[in-house]
């Protein structure tokens, strides 16, 4: 089954401020930090046409009485954890899909509950409402894709069951864009080919889908026919880490090389710290650059030796940046990602002149220890003293990261 906490951020906020219950409410990123987009909204705001992801000023234009709230990520993480604790009363197989969604495999639990999966879903629904004061919608099916689709069908506080007998009646008439992994571009292509419903995908010849969408065509065909066989992973399962990265939209434009250097060092420090914590070394460095017109590019290079050092990453990132940035074009966001990872204990090619690098590593590890004991701000590079707005620590404890279905 798939459990989706309804309008999660907005529901938690309204739970703590019941006076807003009858008003349209949207939780939005900080405008001052230039993260001013709608992150979540309640039903009244949805009815007013507010869309998740649109700019705050657009939302205000559509709905002038809209109440705009700043996000309290720590609180959302706490509620998400409490919801998962409720799920864990029924099964150890709980796979998170973002902060507010989870898949649960209740195959074993179903045998001991008289009402089956439907009853388990009802129990979860009631527990979430009674204990947390928010609502969840649950989709029950034999595969993850239809379970997710089911949880979107009836909202809020509802259970939808999709069985092998009725999926053609319930799922196939739905627009193709409702299917997992049919994004805007795929939806357009499908429409161009006259395929408008999930049933249309299910019944289209495989060769047509393949020629139109490549191997995704085959995947979507399988999804639409309920043939997704991916398992729900247990809750202590950790996926293999393929890259460690951070990106940031700065509160003001990045206009000079010096600005970019400061941001890249802040990002590299955060990435390097996380890599050392997990015991990784990386060989490939990628930078991501977005300008104020929202045009972006990525560039990558292979490092001479695997590293977990912020200083090496930042200087490499700056080399790449200098080569590819059209001088003078103001920038809005920068990102840095390390891939080609392997465990530090696996052995690595040593440099002929190891002394300087070993010293640098020992220095950065000492900084990690100081920060662990006294906080991130206890020690910093002189470079970071420039404009403090350009060097926040992006690796905050309450960071919430996106998750992909295909991994």
């Amino acid at each position: 089954m798939h459990c989706d906490l309804n309008s999660f951020y907005a529901s938690v906020e309204i739970l703590y401020r019941p006076e807003l219950k009858e008003l349209p409410v949207a939780v939005c990123g900080e405008i001052e930090q230039r993260h001013g987009i709608v992150l979540a909204k309640n039903i009244l705001a949805k009815r007013a046409g507010i869309i998740t992801g649109e700019a705050v000023w657009q939302a205000r234009q559509k709905c002038p009485p809209l109440v705009v709230l700043s996000p309290s990520y720590g609180l959302y993480l706490r509620f998400s954890k409490m919801a998962r604790e409720i799920y864990s009363r029924h099964t150890p197989y709980i796979e998170s899909f973002g902060i507010d969604e989870c898949w649960l495999d209740v195959t074993c639990a179903v045998k001991s509950v008289p009402g089956g999966a439907n009853q388990i879903a009802q129990d979860i629904l009631n527990s979430i409402r009674k204990e947390l004061g928010i609502t969840v919608s649950v989709g029950v099916s034999w595969n993850k894709v239809f379970a997710k689709l089911g949880s979107d069908l009836k909202k809020p506080d509802a259970v939808t069951v999709i069985t092998k007998d009725d999926f053609r009646r319930l799922v196939w008439p739905l627009p193709a864009k409702d299917l997992l992994y049919v994004g805007r571009a795929t939806w357009r292509r499908l429409q161009d080919a006259g395929i408008c419903t999930i049933g249309g995908i299910a019944n289209a010849p495989l060769s047509t889908l393949r020629s139109m969408l490549g191997k995704w065509g085959e995947t979507l065909h399988m999804f639409a026919n309920g043939m997704d066989a991916s398992p729900v992973m247990p809750k202590d399962w950790e996926e293999e880490v393929k890259g460690v990265g951070n990106s940031i939209t700065t509160p003001r434009d990045i206009c000079s090389e010096a600005d970019a250097k400061q941001v890249f060092y802040a990002l590299a420090e955060s990435v390097a710290e996380r890599m050392r914590k997990k015991g990784f070394l990386g060989t490939t460095l990628q930078i991501w650059v977005r300008d104020t017109q929202l045009g972006s590019f990525t560039r990558q290079c292979v490092l001479q030796r695997p590293t977990c050092l912020a200083s090496e990453m930042a200087s490499c990132a700056m080399d790449l940046f200098r080569r590819h940035w059209s001088r003078g074009r103001p920038l809005r966001s920068l990102g840095l990602c390390m891939s080609g990872l392997y465990a530090a204990g696996d052995g690595r090619q040593l440099s002929l002149f190891p002394l300087a690098e070993d010293k640098a590593e020992a220095l950065e590890r000492s900084i990690d220890v100081i920060r662990q004991r006294f906080g991130h701000a206890a020690i910093k590079r002189a470079l970071m003293l420039g404009d403090t707005a350009l060097s926040p620590n992006p690796d905050k404890e309450d960071s919430i990261h996106g998750v992909a279905f295909m991994r």
Binding site: L15, E131, L132, G133
Partner: protein, 77 residues
Amino acid sequence: MVREYLRVMAVFHEDGSILPVSFKLPDGRGFAVQRVSDRRPAPSLKAGGQGMRYTCTVLGKRIYLFLDENKWFMEMP
């Protein structure tokens, strides 16, 4: 109804459970908790918020005390 955060005296038991013993209102009046009859996670439907809800008897009346992570609150008119 509003959420009034309070100063609460509580006992931490060996098994990790916490039980309120007495509390002080913002106006300075103190009250002893005579009995705790129930303890469960619940939202406050009247004042908003959520936490571990303790059903307490105080001066013969039933009231709820909520432990919201590490702060105690009560529903006040």
